[in-house]
């Protein structure tokens, strides 16, 4: 499917074919390279990823095959002034998100002021009554946030989604850069790019700064993974390794003497900060899903007694809710007292009868998403849908309108990929990663660029055949 007649903004080339300033040095370098050599390099990249084991498991496939996320070697480039503007907007949004979480689990001023309807979190499974009245160590709820951005023009960056639960993909940001530097060292001598490699160190520092009050100087940090069959297992292991933290599974942990402890070769040892990559509902079988084997029985009691930091805090998943998303401009303004620097994508809340009417009338032009869905599952892309799919979605929408939001089909920006016949524009998005601690908010320069590899496709999710690119923020 392609955008409907609107001119798509290509980040590398202007409409007249000229190279935009961000790509000037890169394009000059590329023009000097032999095309056959570049093709060989492109094939080498895959071998590089396979050898280092950067794979992900695909849910729902019989033999849990390890797959590679395709990597494209043309970088996605952002100038430093563009980035400064973006990162200010991201920081503002994350600040607001964190304040919003605190408010939702305390006085709920935003509800009382009438800016946010109460129904959005009552009966919302992502909102946890267990968190009411409790403040996490350091007041931090969203230790790690991924903000999904799309671009529609030279100055038009929009927020598509907030990932406040457990954003993934940061290992690809790091490995994509490593791969590029290994393949084209001379390119990095020529174009100055802001580094991302210190992310794991900053993550470790940021997590340590969120340790419970009274923790000794060197807090013990561990990464909790659901295990080797999880789709993001590689990332969990990678981050633990890079931080010098233990990679633990539920079966390694137990509550001993009021602390969450891990079974080491020397016996049980307490953990101060748990960077968990396990969803809320599996975290504690005594509090949430009773049959969960992925979590730790009793961890919520320890948490509420101040014995451990859980990152991100339980109950932050409500920030990923797409109905909440539609209120983010109000939320930002309410907590920061400022106008949002990064706009949302226009969103129709189908819970609202007028909006529903509009959405049903324009279904074939819109993108419809489940409010609790993620990863591109359970979504309708109107212009690409068959008559039957449209009819099915129409029925779902009518049956439970408040489960859905709708957005226009955006003319997402494109960046060229290296295809057989040369450069070919493909749609991209960008997920920068943000760290929050009492010491401040840090946005890593760059992030994960996901790219739709099929011509005209707007779906960039890796679970649906998207690829990734190295994302550069120029240093000048």
């Amino acid at each position: 499917m392609s955008g409907h007649g609107e001119v798509q903004f290509d980040e590398m080339h202007g409409p007249d074919g000229s190279v935009r300033p961000a790509y000037r040095d890169y394009a000059a370098w590329m023009a000097e390279q032999d095309a056959r050599w570049l093709h060989r390099k492109s094939q080498e990249a895959e071998g590089f990823f396979r050898r280092t084991g950067i794979t992900f498991n695909v849910y729902g496939e019989d033999d849990a095959e390890e797959r590679l996320i395709p990597f494209d070697m043309v970088p996605r480039i952002i100038t430093s002034s563009e980035w400064r503007r973006l990162s200010r907007g991201i920081e503002q949004r994350v600040r607001a998100l964190n304040a919003f979480m605190h408010d939702l689990y305390h006085r709920q001023e935003i509800i009382r002021s009438g800016r946010l309807p109460e129904r959005l979190f009552r009966n919302n499974p992502a909102w946890l009554p267990e968190m009411v009245g409790f403040t996490p160590p350091g007041g931090v709820y969203t230790h790690i946030v991924g903000i999904d951005l799309v671009r529609t023009g030279p100055d038009e960056f929009l927020v598509l989604e907030d990932n406040a639960r457990t954003p993934s993909g940061v290992s690809y940001m790091l490995e994509n850069r490593e791969t590029m530097m290994a393949m084209f060292p001379e390119l990095f001598a020529r174009v100055k790019v802001q580094p991302v490699s210190n992310y794991p160190r900053r993550l470790a520092k940021s997590l340590a700064a969120c340790a419970p009050a009274g923790t000794p100087d060197m807090p013990v940090v561990a990464v909790l993974t659901p295990g080797i069959y999880n789709s993001a297992y590689f990332e969990h292991a990678f981050l633990a390794d890079q931080m010098g933290a233990e990679l633990v599974e539920g079966s390694d942990l137990r509550v001993v003497d009021g602390r969450v402890q891990m079974r080491t070769t020397r016996g049980y040892r307490p953990i101060d900060v748990l960077y968990r990559r396990v969803d809320d509902e599996f975290l504690d079988p005594l509090t949430f899903k009773p049959d969960s084997l992925l979590g730790v029985p009793g961890i919520m009691d320890v948490y509420r007694a101040g014995g451990i930091t859980i990152a991100n805090a339980p109950g932050t998943g409500i920030g990923d809710d797409k109905a909440i998303y539609s209120f983010m401009p109000e939320i930002v303004e309410f907590y920061t007292g400022e106008k949002p620097q990064l706009p949302n994508v226009q969103t129709w809340r189908c819970a609202d009868p007028d909006s529903l009417k509009y959405v049903l009338e324009h279904l074939s032009e819109l993108v419809v998403k489940e409010v609790h869905g993620s990863g591109g599952y359970g979504m309708l892309i109107g212009p690409a849908a068959s008559k039957r799919e449209l009819a099915e979605f129409r029925a779902k929408l009518t049956a439970s309108p408040s489960n859905y939001i709708a957005q226009p089909t955006l003319a997402l920006s494109t960046v060229p990929v290296f295809a057989k016949a040369g450069l070919a524009p493909r749609h991209v998005d960008l997920r920068p990663f943000v760290l929050v601690s009492p010491e401040g908010i840090e946005v890593t320069p760059g992030g994960l660029t996901r790219v739709a590899l099929k011509k005209g496709s707007l779906v960039v999710n890796s679970s649906q055949g998207g690829g990734t690119k190295d994302s550069w923020v120029l240093d000048d």
């Binding site: 396979r50 050898r51 280092t52 084991g53 080797i228 297992y233 590689f234 292991a237 990678f238 633990a240 390794d241 233990e246 990679l247 633990v248 599974e249 079966s251 390694d252 137990r254 891990m262 079974r263 080491t264 070769t265 020397r266 016996g267």
Partner: protein, 314 residues
């Protein structure tokens, strides 16, 4: 480090070692089978399968002992859960589980080896290509050990890697020696005959020890000195004595890292005494088979004591 990870590392190296020893055993068996008559070849393959503990499950699926069938079953048999391919998969699975306790060098060695062997073992192995496959298996294991030796901190991970390697190696060497001796040499009257010499040479070859032995013994070849070489010679890296010296060293380092010894150290001390306490003549006098059986049981006790003391499981 985590007990679960210690367990994973221990078994990763055990599986790798076993895959390598299995490849060696197949190589020696194949050589024997080729240079003998059909009956001797069947006996040879029976003994290989017995050594590997696979005779029963092989007979459940196959009715002949052709080299092609035996090798295919041992290397990649779908109905053989202990095939070399399954061991390599298991080793890599453990490596993934313990990824953060391994260096990049070790991970790449095991991951690349796994990729190569999956490719090699995708289709039935042709006897003409057997050497290439067996050499690749040995090479992977060697590369991983080399990467381990060269890149890993001398910390707990390294200790459990070594412990796994040498527990498995000692077990394998004892089994090879036992099966050959017990099954193929029912009577000591055979000792010294032409067949006998070839069988003993074959044992050495199964353990990559034929050159070392010849070099040490100036061409002499007798069962007693070969047994002595494989059991008691601390210079030969696949001997029981060498393996036990390595495990003792490893346990000493662990005791230093942890600041205390435990039951595993005590059990190891006793096992080492039983192994090296007597001469080869004493071992033969009281029965080599009995000696090796007792060794295999004690070796398992040592492994269990290590697992328990270092909390491999909850």
């Amino acid at each position: 480090m985590l007990g679960r990870v210690a367990n994973g590392i221990f078994w990763m190296y055990r599986y790798l070692e076993r895959a390598e020893n299995t490849a060696r055993l197949l190589a020696a068996g194949h050589r024997m089978a080729m240079t003998r008559g059909a009956d001797a070849a069947v006996e040879e393959w029976r003994s290989v399968l017995t050594t590997l503990g696979l005779l029963q499950s092989y007979e459940a699926h196959h009715h002949d002992f052709s080299s092609a069938h035996v090798c295919d079953f041992v290397l990649r048999g779908k109905d053989n859960p202990e095939s070399v391919l399954a061991m390599i998969e298991a080793a890599r699975f453990n490596a993934r589980m313990c990824r953060s306790a391994l260096t990049l060098e070790v991970w790449e060695a095991i991951n690349e080896g796994w990729m190569a062997q999956r490719e090699l073992l995708l289709r039935p192995v042709r006897i003409t290509g057997l050497w290439q496959v067996l050499a690749a298996i040995r090479r992977e294991s060697t590369l991983v050990r080399g990467a381990t030796h060269d890149s890993m901190l001398r910390n707990e991970s390294y200790c459990f890697a070594r412990a796994g390697t040498f527990i498995e190696r000692a077990d394998n060497t004892a089994r090879i020696l036992d099966v050959k001796y017990y099954l193929l040499l029912p009577s000591l009257a055979y000792v010294g005959s032409a067949l006998d010499t070839a069988q003993w040479e074959n044992i050495l070859r199964s353990l990559s020890g034929e050159r070392a032995y010849r070099w040490l013994n100036a061409g002499r070849m007798d069962s007693r000195s070969i047994a002595e070489f494989l059991i008691l010679d601390e210079r030969f890296p696949r001997s029981l004595a060498f393996s036990y010296a390595a495990i003792r060293d490893t346990l000493t380092v662990l005791a230093r890292l942890h600041g205390n010894e435990g039951p595993a150290h005590e059990i190891m001390r006793l096992a080492a005494q039983q192994l090296t306490g007597g001469s080869i003549d004493e071992i033969f006098d009281s029965g080599l088979h009995e000696f090796l059986l007792a060794f295999i049981v004690r070796n398992r006790d040592v492994a269990n004591a290590i697992a328990e003391q270092y909390r491999f499981t909850a």
